[in-house]
């Protein structure tokens, strides 16, 4: 398939998903409320006289994003279960790669929206200075998110049709999320501590390699998860 077609079809699918989401807004609102709650809960998980917020902020940020992403990822193929919508999608004259890329795109926009709300809240609740580091922080978040959402989208296509879908997805996904997550946490920590950018370049490279490998792998493997 020619690549403009692929992108166009992917965008159509993503737009459909986002429109469904935008009309009801239940999932995104729940995810945002969830993020706020997790951030608030973290406040009780530390002794403010013993641990400085700046030491804890990177972990709080990434644990929150991990949980939010896992919750969000279940949704992508869940909405296709009703009325066998996935079969209809598969019968449409578009390649499975477009379906995967469309789902990935919709998931990315969904998770990015949640993160867009999460970062200012973190700055507010934990008194973390993010404004001076906004550009590199955005790069870390973007690179890490692409990696684990790519794997998560692939896995959710499988788990959604198994028993215990909501539980199985995190169990399968977390081992895959931890490498990008640990690099992102370390990089965020260095960044917020005001270390020079050259110190985090290595982590960013690793994140980029992870993204390239797993997005490619997911595009190649996705047909095997939907073709009967």
């Amino acid at each position: 398939m020619r690549s403009p077609e692929l992108i166009r079809h992917a965008w159509t699918i993503a737009r459909k998903d986002l429109l469904v989401e935008f009309r009801s807004r239940t999932a995104i609102l729940s995810a945002v409320v969830f993020v706020v709650l997790v951030l608030v809960v973290f406040n009780f998980g530390r002794d403010p006289t013993a641990v400085a917020t700046i030491d804890l902020a990177p972990s709080i940020l990434w644990v929150t994003f991990t949980f939010a992403a896992v919750l969000a990822l279940n949704r992508a193929f869940q909405i296709e279960l009703e009325n066998q919508a996935l079969d209809g999608l598969l019968l449409a004259p578009i390649g499975p790669s477009s379906i995967y890329l469309g789902k990935l795109l919709a998931n990315l926009i969904f998770v990015a929206t949640v993160e867009l709300i999460g970062v200012p809240l973190l700055a507010l609740f934990f008194n973390v200075r993010v404004l001076p580091y906004l550009a590199p922080l955005t790069a870390i978040i973007a690179l890490a998110t692409v990696g684990f959402v790519a794997v998560g989208t692939l896995f959710s296509a499988m788990t959604v049709r198994t028993r215990f879908a909501e539980l199985l997805l995190p169990v399968l996904l977390l081992p895959f999320m931890i490498p990008p997550l640990s690099w992102a946490t370390l990089a965020t920590g260095r960044l917020l501590a005001g270390r020079p950018l050259s110190e985090i370049a290595g982590w960013l490279n690793m994140l980029a390699v992870y993204d390239v490998v797993f997005v490619t792998l997911a595009v190649l493997l996705f047909p095997a998860t939907v073709n009967e």
């Binding site: 794997v151 692939l154 896995f155 499988m158 788990t159 049709r161 198994t162 028993r163 215990f164 199985l168 169990v171 399968l172 977390l174 081992p175 895959f176 931890i178 490498p179 640990s182 690099w183 290595g202 690793m206 992870y210 490998v213 797993f214 792998l217 493997l221 095997a224 998860t225 073709n227 009967e228």
Partner: protein, 231 residues
């Protein structure tokens, strides 16, 4: 079934040889100077670790071939290899702390290699859980192949990420550039142990493969029986 018997014989021979290797390790191999007797676990720990890691690669490779050839035998092999890999990872995770307590003074630390083995173990558990959650054999085979391939590709990443952290774990002394840094008698014992673990892996996988074949036959018979009952 012949295959099951063959698997049993291989395993029995391997277990016997393992006992032999330990007689050699305890009685005829020098005691390491700084670690003392605790070092003897090295002959169990390292071969198990090598096979735990190799097993996931073999599972992933079987997954790739399955997706092209659609041969259920490959899926059966992948499942067997993953199950045996889980056991070997568990062996590594139990022998490690037994060695760590006297040498490091702690059962567990978040050391790079310990974390890596724990990841591997969790990856295997996820794989086995996924297999348990899918009922249809063809779908189960496809899904496990996808997860197996992803797991295989994750291994180098975990490797990289753990080696970026400082480590307490002893550095490789056998698989390293240049000559192995240990006395010839220890090396011989270790190589024998590696051979025995290879045999154990083969024996376990052959048995597991034969068992899952029998299980499939049984399921097929059960389904045929149910079909007749309905009709």
């Amino acid at each position: 079934m012949r295959m099951l018997r063959v698997g049993r014989w291989i395993t029995a021979a391997a277990l016997l040889l393992l006992a032999g290797v330990y007689v050699r390790a305890l009685a005829f191999t020098p005691v390491e100077q700084s670690q003392g007797l605790a070092q003897k676990i090295f002959y169990l720990h390292v071969p198990a670790a090598i096979w735990a890691e190799t097993a996931i690669v073999l599972t992933g490779l079987a997954g790739i071939f399955f997706l092209f050839l659609k041969d259920l035998r490959l899926d059966r092999f992948a499942a067997s290899s993953a199950e045996v890999g889980t056991i070997f990872a568990a062996i590594v995770l139990t022998t490690g702390p037994i060695w760590g307590k006297p040498i490091w003074g702690t059962w567990w630390t978040w050391d790079a290699r310990l974390t890596f083995t724990l990841f591997l173990f969790l990856l295997y558990l996820g794989y086995l859980l996924l297999r348990g959650a899918v009922v249809d054999p063809a779908t189960r085979a496809r899904y496990s192949a996808v997860l197996g391939i992803c797991g295989m590709c994750l291994v180098p990443f975990i490797h990289f990420s753990v080696y970026m952290f400082p480590t307490l774990h002893p550095m490789p002394i056998v698989l390293q550039p240049g000559r192995p840094k240990l006395p010839a008698s220890m090396l011989t014992t270790w190589l024998l142990a590696l051979g025995v673990f290879t045999l154990l892996y083969v024996g376990f996988v052959v048995q597991r493969y034969a068992l899952s074949y029998l299980q499939e036959q049984l399921e097929a018979v059960g389904e045929a029986g149910r079909g007749r009952g309905d009709g």
